[in-house]
């Protein structure tokens, strides 16, 4: 693994940890859900970097899009 590729891997993983941490500490529910979706999208990018494009497409479709839609329905049903 060349140093450039290793650097991209480490950058994606660090950004994933930051996004997951934001999803925990953010007070606004919609912002937290968007941070969770960003973590999922970065995970799909990591799958693509590891030469697994099938898993990457599934993760981007299910984890980043559909889960977020269901979370938004749940947030709409709560009281402000």
């Amino acid at each position: 693994m060349s140093p450039m590729v290793a650097f991209v891997h480490i950058a994606v993983l660090v950004m994933m940890i930051i996004a997951a941490f934001l999803a925990v500490i953010l007070k606004n529910l919609l912002s937290a859900v968007i941070a969770l979706s960003a973590a999922s999208l970065l995970l799909s990018l990591e799958f693509y970097l590891l030469h697994a494009p099938d898993v990457a497409i599934a993760e981007a479709g299910i984890g980043a899009a559909l889960t977020m839609a269901i979370f938004i329905f749940a947030i709409r049903a709560t009281k402000k």
Partner: protein, 158 residues
Amino acid sequence: MKGEMSIIVKTITKLIYGFIMVYGFYVIVHGHLTPGGGFQGGAIVASAFALLVVTYGNQGVNNYLKKDVFSLVESTGLVLFIAFAFFGLGVTFFYNFLANSGGLFGNPAIIGVNPGDLNTGGTVPIMNIAVGLEVLAALTVIILTMSAASEITKEKEN
């Protein structure tokens, strides 16, 4: 109407949901040539439907996206999948009886790295389409049911 999003989100949704659907169907149909397949393509098409439901609310899409139609499509996909698994029963369950036969999807593939021919793969493309229909309908039914349930629950509480 309540449950809707702002005019910015509506305009962007009108622009891109068709492209998302076409890309999803592309992933389903080219499942035996490019990365992806029935499950991934179905999830992409279902995410386009989810975008519509999130943007316009359950009331807004009620007349266009019927739950019964999607339920029927889901059962059709699953039945098609199992039927093509049983058609290979002359040899084994899930036998690829169409591959290299010269008929539908029956061209032999060129060995080695090549762009690929859509008319290859035997039962693999048919199974892709069946599973794609099943997944897109199943996920859309889940999204529609949950959005309707959340809106009705909120109405009851107010």
